[in-house]
Amino acid sequence: MGETAGLPQINEVAAYLNKFAPETADDLKAKGATFSELLAGGVIGGEDVAQPPDAEREGLKARAQVTVAALDQALQQCGPAAAAVHARLRKARSLQFAAAALTAVTASGVIASAFVSATATIVAGIITLAASVVGLFSDIVVLGGQGRYDKLREVAQTLIKDEGIAGVSRSTLAAIAQTNFIPEDLKDMLRQGNALFAEIFQALSEARL
């Protein structure tokens, strides 16, 4: 669920771990009921109730521990995922160039001058077909759907940005959770972390399409 009454939600952290780092999620769940509950996924559709100070601190520490573990995983996954997306984009660009080149050949009149009339028509048709197939392969297989080039470029940028934020957040959150922290400070960091994982979840989902 990622949420106990009165404490910030880490439902997006839980969603990320369950989907993209299930082994880490299982390891955390094995630590006890508190962690299992935090990693149940989904949100509680009701209002928060204030917690006693001790319970609040313990609850915040548990959330910080889960979020730090998730940030460790995100640091390992975001960079390679962005690189994979870039590779797909490069491949798509190459294929689209090839498709455009084939189309240009067909349109240029080279075929008509190189072959007799009937053969030229057939060859031009084959080349046009090949251009279409290459273009479709680029869109459907490489990019995961038509018109997704810009989306994937955005996803790659998001993953690179999130990797950077995850690095800073991980160090800060781990350090603060070890100290005699001010609850509101940690709550704020956890909220930011949860929002970060909402973005990472979305970006990784898009990257895998």
Binding site: E12, G42, G45, G46
Partner: protein, 404 residues
């Protein structure tokens, strides 16, 4: 009030509670044969409760109304304080204006003793509480299922009329937005309940008559959560039912709600929501509220749009006007779990009964209000104005035919 027969101090006022000088509003504790004008009724209840007892642990209490007064009849013959070893010839009965007797402890003390109990007597009464059987007259319950006395502390609850006990699966006390708690009755399985109690068959028949089909049921998720969204996207049934939108701002969420209601006209809309303080609230992943709408307004908009709404939100049973909503939820629920339950339910559900029975489970207890799911019924409350407040006298339903 006149008592037909008197033994000991068989007629008294409550020793705890208010005492009014007006005859019409007097608190009456009767240990005589009967209260004047109620002889037949008391005789019937006496037969229904069975033999008289002198053991506190075997007390049976029948709780009903006599007009605007609380009427309680027991099978317990209490001891006469002034005559050691002697007991009253007849079981104790109480008639008092509703509200004068605030709680069961006061009621039981007046039933069991003719003077305020001492420490030992009170301890015995407390120890017996879990064994005492309470027979509640469904006709005495209000729309919410509240009895004319706070039943907090009662363990064994049953339904009965003056003449017979009524079959019911299980009765539970549920705290609403304010005390006293209301009684709800199990309709099916562990977790599908109805209120007020005593309407089980009526409610189940209505739910059974309301047809459900995948093609005429929509789903609106008003929670921002990747697990819930993924659950919906991963289910063929749910993704086909889901009203898609890209709402972000409050205005967009409001428009998304309107769109969902428009798409569900004449059909059923299942809404997964986060409810806080009587409001449906959409929170982003930082916990900040992006949109909110009062629960009552949400339901009103659904009614205006001719939509049968199944609003799943935490503790909606505590909403002030929950007695008029088709589905109320007890306690808190998990949105992703609920989405999974809906997905499973939609595979087999053909009626509102099978849909709600399949959605309900230990962590998503549902209460269906009598008078709703009425095959296109349009309900209207008829109110009477009392000084400073409006009180609903009855609800009027106009029937039609609907297929959800």
């Amino acid at each position: 009030m006149r008592v037909t027969r008197t033994i000991g101090i068989a007629l008294a006022s409550l020793f705890i509670g208010l005492f009014s000088i007006s005859a019409a509003h007097v608190d009456l504790v009767c240990r005589a044969a009967a209260i004047a004008g109620m002889e037949t009724r008391i005789q019937h209840v006496h037969q229904m409760l069975g033999e008289d007892v002198t053991d506190l642990r075997k007390i049976k209490l029948y709780i009903s109304r006599d007009g605007d007064r609380l009427f309680v009849q027991s099978n317990y013959r209490s001891a006469i304080s002034d005559e050691p070893g002697q007991r009253y010839e007849y079981p104790t009965k109480i008639a008092a204006p509703v509200g004068h007797l605030k709680d069961l402890n006061t009621l039981l003390a007046n039933i069991a003793f003719d003077r305020p109990p001492d420490f030992k007597q009170q301890s015995e009464l407390d120890a017996a509480m879990s064994k005492i059987e309470f027979y509640i007259d469904p006709a005495a319950l209000d729309d919410h299922g509240r009895a004319p006395i706070d039943l907090t502390g009662a363990h064994i609850l049953r339904l009965a009329t003056d003449t017979m006990t009524l079959p019911s699966l299980d009765l539970k006390l549920e705290t609403l937005n304010e005390p006293p708690p209301a009684l709800i009755e199990t309709l099916d399985g562990c977790c599908l309940n109805g209120r007020p109690p005593g309407q089980r068959n009526v409610i189940l028949n209505r739910l059974d008559a309301y047809k459900i089909s995948k093609s005429k049921t929509k789903l609106l998720s008003m929670v921002i959560d990747s697990t819930t969204s993924d659950t919906i996207a991963g289910s063929k049934a749910l993704s086909a039912m889901a009203v898609t939108h890209k709402a972000s701002s409050a205005k967009e969420w409001d428009a998304a709600l309107d769109e969902a209601l428009a798409q569900s006209k004449g059909q059923t809309l299942i809404a997964l929501t986060h409810v806080a303080q009587g409001m449906v609230v959409v929170e982003d992943s930082k916990g900040a509220a992006k949109y909110s709408i009062p629960l009552d307004e949400f339901h009103a908009r659904a009614r205006r749009a001719d939509v049968q709404l199944v609003l799943i939100g935490c503790e909606t049973i505590k909403s002030a006007k929950a007695a008029s909503i088709p589905v109320a939820v007890i306690g808190k629920y998990n949105t992703a779990d609920a989405a999974r339950r809906v997905a499973v339910a939609m595979e087999t559900a053909t009626t509102a009964k099978s849909l709600l029975a399949a959605i309900a489970h230990e962590k998503l207890e549902i209460v269906v209000q009598n008078g709703t799911w009425d095959k296109g019924a349009i309900g209207a409350g008829v109110f009477k104005r009392f000084p400073g407040r409006l009180v609903r006298v009855f609800r009027l339903w106009m029937m039609g035919v609907r297929h959800g």
